[in-house]
C-alpha cells in the first residue's frame, strides 16, 4: 500500500498564501502580510522535510494522482505528482532557498510600496515552481513552466511605473515564449508518437528504443526542441537576452528566480528527460556546445560590467552554461549537483549584493563603491564565502561541483574541458574583481550623509533610500540571517559530492544514481561513453582504474590554479595597480567596446527580428488588414447604407404631386407585370 503524502499540498500551501495576500493583503499590515507569506512558504519547506523523513521506505518513483484532468481517447493526463530522488533534491532546494529568500525579502522590501503584492507574487512563484518540480507528466510541468514565466514577468516588472522595468518584464516573457514554442512542439511530437506524456510510462517506452545514430531521428528532434525550451527558460544562447534586463526587478527576485530556481527549470527538465537525450547523441552534442558557448560568452561580458547586479546576472548565465555542459555530456547528476551549489552561492551572492546596495543607499555601480568591508562586516564575510565558492576555491561547494563537470567534460571532449577551464578562470577573475571593487580600497561613493529625499515607494532606482539612517550601514538581522545560513551552505554544501579521487564517496551521485541509470541504453563498448551509463553498481568512478584518479587529481589541480590565477589577476588590476584596467581597455579598443556593449546582441536582435516584426505588423496587419479590410468593410457597409438611404430619401419630398407620380409609376409596373403574366 503506497503511502499518500498529499504531495499536492506542497505547491498548494504557497498558493494559499498568494491568494490570501493577493486578495486581502491590501488591508493587512506589513507584519500580517509577511507573516502569511512566510508561514505558507516555510510550511511547504516543513512538509518537504517530512517527506524526506519518510523517503527511505518508498518504492520509487512514487506517483500520487490528485484528480483526472484530460481524457481524449487513449490520451490521458492527470493532476499527478511524482517523487523520486531528483524531485526530492529540487524540492529541498526550492523550498529551502525560497524560504530563506522570503525571510530576506521581508527586510529588503519593508520600505517599498506594494508590499503585499510582492509577497503574493513571490508565493505564486513558489506554487508554480513546485508544480513544475513535482509534476509527474510533461503537461503539468508545462503549467508550472508557464507559470514561473508569468511570476517572473510580474516580479521583474514589479516597479511597473518605471518604463525600463515594464519593458524588461515584457522582454522576459516574450523571449521565454519563444522557447516555450519549441517545448510545445516537442510535447506534440511526444503525444503523437508515444501517446502519453506521463513520465513513468513514457520513459519506459522510450527506454526500449535504440540509440539514434542518424542526426535527424525522432528522439533527436524531440531533444533539440526540448533544448529550445530550456534555452528560453535557462537563458542560453540565443535566448539569454532577457536575463540581464531582468535585474530591473527587486534583488530578492533576482536571487530567487533568476539564480536559484526558475532558470534552473531548464536544467531540471533536461535532466528529467535524460532518457530521451541518452538516445540522441546529436542532441547531447548540441546541448554541450550551446552550454560551452554560453558559458564563455557570458563570462567575457561579465568581465566588463560595472553594475554589480549585471555582473551577477552574466555570471548566472555562465554557470547555467556549465550545467548544460554537464547535461550535454550525459553527466546529469553532476549538472544537478552544480545546480544545487549554484543555488546556494548565487542566491547568497545576489542577496549579499542586495545588502550592499541597501547599505550604500541604492547605488549599484561598483565604481562608486569600495572599502566597504569594515562598514558592513556581515555582508562582507558572507559575500566572501559566496565569491570563494563560485570561483572554485578548494573546500567550498563550488569547487566540487565545478570540478566534477570539468572532469566529465574532459572525458567527452578536451575542447569542452578547455573552454570550461578558461571560463572558470574568467569566472574567478570577474568575481574577485567585483569583490575587490566593492569591499576594498577607498569608498568612492557620495559622502556619508546622503539625505536625499528619495521617494522610496518604487518610483526610484532599486530601493532603500530615505531610511533616515545616513551613511553606509549594515542591513537588519532579518536580512543578515539568511545570508549567514546560505553562506554556511555554500561552504559545506559541496561535501555531499566529494568525488572518489579525493577520497570521498560522492553520495550525491549515488543518491541520484537510480534516477539516471535505470534507463541507460545498452552499451556498446565505446569507452568514451560518459560514466553515467556504466553497468549500474557502484560509484561513478567504478569503471575507472586508479590511474583515472590520478588524472582527475591533475585536472583538479589545473582548475584550482586557474581559480587562483583569476584571484591574483583581479588583485593586481583592482587593488595593486588600479590604473591598469583603463590602459588595457584602451589598448583593446573596439573589441573592449564590443564586449562592454554585450556584443551588441540586443541591437542585432532589434534590427533582425524586432524592428521588421513591428514594421510588418504596423504596415500589414494594422494598416492593411485591420484598418484597410476590417474597419473599411464595416465602415463601407455603414457608408453604403447611408448612401442608399440618402438616395431613397428623395421619395419623401412632402410634395403631393410627386407622391402621386410614384403611385402612378408603381401602378403601371404592377399592371405591366400582370399583363406579362397573363400573356405567358
Amino acid at each position: 500500500m503506497t503511502p499518500n503524502f498529499y504531495l499536492w499540498m506542497i505547491p498548494l500551501l504557497p498558493l494559499a498564501g498568494a491568494a490570501i495576500n493577493g486578495l486581502l493583503g491590501k488591508r493587512f499590515s506589513r507584519q500580517t502580510v509577511s507573516a502569511v507569506a512566510l508561514t505558507f512558504c516555510i510550511a511547504a519547506f516543513g512538509w518537504a522535510l517530512f517527506v524526506v523523513s519518510k523517503f527511505s521506505g518508498l518504492v520509487l518513483p512514487h506517483v500520487e494522482t490528485l484528480a483526472p484532468w484530460l481524457r481524449a481517447g487513449n490520451f490521458q493526463v492527470d493532476f499527478a505528482f511524482q517523487l523520486d530522488q531528483l524531485s526530492l533534491v529540487m524540492l529541498l532546494i526550492v523550498t529551502g532557498v525560497g524560504s530563506l529568500i522570503h525571510i530576506y525579502s521581508v527586510g529588503y522590501m519593508w520600505e517599498e510600496g506594494g508590499f503585499y503584492r510582492f509577497f503574493s507574487y513571490l508565493n505564486l512563484f513558489m506554487f508554480f515552481m513546485l508544480t513544475l518540480i513535482l509534476a509527474s507528466n510533461y503537461l503539468l510541468m508545462f503549467i508550472g513552466w508557464e507559470g514561473v514565466g508569468l511570476a517572473s514577468y510580474l516580479l521583474i516588472g514589479f516597479f511597473f511605473v518605471k518604463d525600463s522595468a515594464a519593458s524588461a518584464g515584457k522582454k522576459a516573457f516574450i523571449v521565454n515564449r519563444i522557447g516555450d514554442f519549441g517545448l510545445l512542439i516537442a510535447l506534440f511530437l511526444l503525444i503523437k508518437h508515444f501517446g502519453t506524456l506521463n513520465f513513468v510510462p513514457l520513459f519506459q517506452n522510450i527506454a526500449s528504443m535504440p540509440v539514434e545514430t542518424a542526426s535527424a531521428g525522432l528522439l533527436t528532434t524531440i531533444g533539440l526542441l526540448l533544448m529550445v525550451g530550456a534555452c528560453g527558460k535557462s537563458a542560453q544562447i540565443p535566448l539569454y537576452v532577457w536575463l540581464p534586463d531582468a535585474m530591473e526587478g527587486p534583488t530578492p527576485v533576482s536571487a530567487l528566480i533568476h539564480a536559484a530556481t526558475m532558470v534552473t527549470a531548464g536544467v531540471y527538465m533536461v535532466a528529467r528527460s535524460h532518457t530521451i537525450f541518452e538516445r540522441a547523441p546529436m542532441a547531447l552534442t548540441v546541448i554541450a556546445i550551446i552550454g560551452c558557448l554560453t558559458a564563455l560568452f557570458a563570462a567575457t561580458i561579465g568581465v566588463t560590467q560595472t553594475d554589480i547586479k549585471k555582473v551577477l546576472a552574466y555570471s548566472t548565465i555562465s554557470q547555467l552554461g556549465y550545467m548544460f555542459i554537464a547535461c550535454g555530456v550525459a553527466a546529469f547528476s553532476a549538472g544537478i549537483f552544480h545546480l544545487m551549489t549554484h543555488a546556494f552561492f548565487k542566491g547568497l551572492l545576489f542577496l549579499a549584493a542586495g545588502s550592499v546596495i541597501h547599505a550604500v543607499g541604492g547605488e549599484q555601480d561598483m565604481r562608486k563603491m569600495g572599502g566597504l568591508r569594515k562598514k558592513i562586516p556581515y555582508t562582507f564575510w558572507t559575500m566572501t564565502a559566496g565569491t570563494f565558492a563560485i570561483a572554485g576555491i578548494p573546500g567550498l561547494a563550488g569547487f566540487f561541483s565545478k570540478d566534477e563537470i570539468l572532469w566529465r567534460a574532459y572525458q567527452a571532449s578536451w575542447a569542452y574541458w578547455a573552454i570550461g577551464l578558461f571560463t572558470a578562470f574568467l569566472t574567478s577573475f570577474y568575481m574577485f574583481r567585483l569583490w575587490f571593487m566593492t569591499f576594498f580600497g577607498e569608498y568612492k561613493g557620495e559622502p556619508e550623509s546622503r539625505a536625499q529625499g528619495h521617494d522610496s515607494h518604487g518610483h526610484d532606482t532599486q530601493v532603500h533610500e530615505g531610511h533616515g539612517h545616513s551613511g553606509v550601514h549594515e542591513s537588519p538581522m532579518v536580512m543578515v540571517l539568511p545570508l549567514i545560513l546560505l553562506a554556511i551552505l555554500s561552504v559545506v554544501g559541496g561535501y555531499v559530492g566529494v568525488p572518489g579521487s579525493l577520497g570521498g564517496q560522492n553520495h550525491f551521485d549515488k543518491f541520484l544514481g537510480p534516477v539516471f541509470r535505470s534507463t541507460a541504453p545498452a552499451l556498446n563498448a565505446h569507452h568514451e561513453q560518459p560514466g553515467e551509463t556504466a553497468p549500474p553498481e557502484q560509484t561513478t568512478e567504478g569503471h575507472e582504474p586508479e590511474a583515472g584518479h590520478g588524472t582527475e587529481i591533475i585536472f583538479t589541480g589545473i582548475s584550482v590554479s586557474a581559480g587562483f590565477l583569476g584571484l591574483f589577476l583581479a588583485w593586481l588590476l583592482y587593488v595593486n595597480k588600479p590604473q591598469l584596467p583603463q590602459r588595457i581597455a584602451a589598448s583593446l579598443g573596439s573589441f573592449y567596446h564590443a564586449v562592454l556593449n554585450k556584443y551588441y546582441v540586443d541591437e542585432i536582435y532589434a534590427t533582425l527580428f524586432v524592428k521588421p516584426l513591428i514594421d510588418g505588423s504596423t504596415s500589414i496587419l494594422w494598416h492593411g488588414v485591420d484598418q484597410g479590410v476590417i474597419d473599411a468593410s464595416v465602415n463601407s457597409t455603414a457608408d453604403g447604407a447611408r448612401e442608399v438611404s440618402d438616395s431613397l430619401r428623395h421619395m419623401q419630398s412632402g410634395n403631393l404631386r410627386s407622391y402621386a407620380g410614384w403611385i402612378a409609376a408603381g401602378a403601371a409596373a404592377v399592371i405591366a407585370y400582370m399583363i406579362w403574366m397573363g400573356t405567358r
Binding site: 430619401r649 419623401q652 419630398s653 412632402g654 410634395n655 403631393l656 404631386r657 402621386a660 407620380g661 402612378a664 401602378a667
Partner: protein, 100 residues
C-alpha cells in the same frame, strides 16, 4: 355588334385620361375629379365583361364601386374643405408642410 375590345379600349382611354389628370393638374378638386374619371372607366370595363360573359356579378361589382366612390367623394371633399380652411389654397403644390 360591337366587339368587346372596343369597350375595353374606351375604358382604357378614360382611365388614361384620369391618370394624366391626376398627375398633371394642380387643383385638388380637379385631381379628385380625375379619380372619379378613372373609376368610371373601370366601371365600364366591368359592365362590358359582365355582358360578354353573361355574368351579372360584374354589374353587382359596379354597384359596389359606385357606393365606395360616393363615400370616398364625401370624405375626400370634407378633407379638402378642411385643408382649405388651414392653408387657404386649393393648389396642391402649396400643401407642402412636410417638405424636407
Amino acid at each position: 355588334m360591337v366587339p368587346l375590345s372596343y369597350y375595353l379600349v374606351l375604358s382604357g382611354i378614360l382611365f388614361a385620361c384620369g391618370v394624366t389628370g391626376f398627375l398633371v393638374k394642380r387643383n385638388i378638386i380637379t385631381i379628385f375629379m380625375s379619380i372619379e374619371l378613372m373609376l368610371n372607366g373601370v366601371n365600364l370595363s366591368f359592365v362590358a365583361f359582365a355582358a360578354h360573359w353573361h355574368a351579372l356579378s360584374g354589374q353587382v361589382f359596379v354597384f359596389f364601386v359606385m357606393v365606395v366612390a360616393a363615400a370616398e367623394a364625401a370624405v375626400g371633399l370634407a378633407i379638402i374643405i378642411s385643408v382649405f380652411r388651414t392653408r387657404q389654397t386649393l393648389n396642391v403644390d402649396r400643401v407642402n408642410l412636410l417638405k424636407l
